[in-house]
Symmetry: C2
Subunit: 317 residues, 2 copies
């Protein structure tokens, strides 16, 4: 997860310093406590706080952890660590882009750290990459502290729009993009709009026939009710395929994160069988190699545990 297109407010009434998670909980450790995952917390040992700021939208913090490299935290929630960011960025990007032949125009909503851009840029067919991120501080902080992530901004095909993703999408001419990637924060609070029907309808309109969207869609272990609602909304809006995939990210709550993958009416898209292997058609060289994604793990990401499959299938059909 990177910065939200719509900013998140404090959810549980704690002060700014407490919401940064550096608190009395474990002295010298950062603990991620939230109403989104009550009763549990993942903690990382802090070597040094490198940045603390308050943007117009959220608290932004960067710290050096002792075993996960540098860590980006927004409003007390871990967005990325250098050690495991590859899993999230590669999967949220290549699951949609490897499912269609020759993606040319791609829109990223959120994703202000630049990691999704870095991955989109591997696709040599891509001609234009728009990104709409609401919080410029996230972009600046990523460029300063996470150069290997923010490198995505250096690609000449990228245009950064700082602003609200919902408004940006409404102004997009119909059928503009081959793919939209929604790299958002959690759907409780103001980012909620990014998980509701009107937003999905804007995404569908902005996509060409047979175009694809991939949106961050929470954890099957923690948020099945939210996922049910997202699937129901997507099924109503997207007349092509509607699928749920997931992957491992150790520093996200419950250790997994999911994605909704949908296509608009038009040329059919079979997400489970990628047609555009980035290992073959894209940039995957020894100096710039994929760490996580491959075609096998792409297909495997759509296989769900029975408890989740039962619920998601019942909403999908």
């Amino acid at each position: 997860m990177a910065a939200a297109a719509v900013a998140k407010k404090q959810e549980n009434g704690v002060s700014a310093s407490e919401s940064d998670g550096i608190s009395s909980v474990i002295p010298g450790w950062f603990s991620e406590i939230s109403q989104m995952w009550p009763g549990e917390a993942h903690s990382l040992k802090v070597e040094k706080i490198l940045f603390q700021g308050k943007s117009d939208y959220q608290n932004v913090m960067v710290f050096q952890s002792s075993t996960y490299g540098k860590v980006l935290v927004l409003d007390g929630v871990i967005q990325l660590t250098e050690r495991d960011e590859c899993a999230y960025q590669e999967m949220i990007t290549h699951l949609p882009l490897c499912s269609i032949p020759n993606p040319k125009k791609v829109l990223v909503i959120g994703g202000g750290d630049g990691g999704v851009l870095r991955e989109v840029a591997r696709h040599s067919s891509v001609e234009k990459i728009d990104i709409c991120e609401i919080d410029k501080m996230v972009v600046d902080v990523s460029k300063e502290f996470f150069p290997r992530v923010a490198i995505g901004f250096e690609d000449p095909r990228v245009t950064l729009h700082v602003g609200d993703g919902v408004a940006f999408l409404k102004a997009v001419p119909e059928g503009t993009y081959d793919a939209v990637i929604v790299d958002s924060s959690d759907p409780i609070g103001p980012a909620q709009e990014l998980f509701e029907k009107p937003f999905f309808a804007s995404v569908a309109k902005a996509l060409r026939p047979g175009g694809v969207v991939c949106t961050q869609a929470e954890s099957i272990w923690l948020h099945m009710k939210i996922i049910e609602d997202i699937v129901t909304n997507c099924r109503q809006v997207f007349k092509g395929s509607v699928n749920y995939a997931w992957t491992t990210v150790p520093t996200y709550p419950s250790g997994v994160i999911g994605f909704m993958l949908c296509s608009t009416e038009g040329p059919p898209v079979d997400f489970k069988h990628p047609v555009n292997p980035v290992e073959v058609n894209g940039i995957d060289t020894p100096n710039n190699s994929l760490k996580f994604y491959n075609s096998e793990i792409h297909s495997a990401a759509f296989c769900l545990p029975s408890f989740a499959k039962k619920i998601i299938d019942s909403k999908s059909n």
Copy 2:
């Protein structure tokens, strides 16, 4: 993970009460801190401590958590929670047993909570289930506090042997079992024996030709060096197939756990394509249903992220 066949000693010189994790870290929370995953800790909120004891081998604790049900902890490390135990127990059991036709004789090493037995018992072809667990306190505590897990002991095909798994295996006549499941704790400390060549050689001897073993094999995010060594050892001992699989378990460090799946020389075993679907040939009724495992997720479990695949494949061939 359930009780080790060989008990784990304190690894980092902390006192017994500290090793139980109820410490000053988060008041009222259990925090899992270990040299096996330095710099990070997962914490669960404690409603009530239900049991604390010291067996001949380890500290045993059970607590009621606020959101993960009851939790079993050995020497400060979470072994199971009621909320997510299904993933580990179903995968460590059905990955091996669904890969061979008609398993009849099964041995479980460790697994004193009974969860693996519960899953083995779903297979109607099975005639005999031996379990060798070193620590009787784990069995007794599970029967008292985790009846839905310990129910595995009630199956009439089960014989419990309380003792050392390494010695037990040495005494097993050659070619006795169709499958051996090693449900052990971590391979640093005394359980190390269960990950070394002489132990694997005993397992291979105890298996019939084309028999299978599945052993707990750590996290690709945390322990690639240990996994490399296990793969190397298994490749030398098992002359059939040698494969690595993994699954999600939110309350295990990094949120994932892996398994080594190997077969002895004899009828070939293709672990990636299960031949014995428990959903069809076993017991999977509405009152006693699988929560996690299905044939799709069986095959998907063998698909690895590129960073792990590269290392494991280089050791396997």
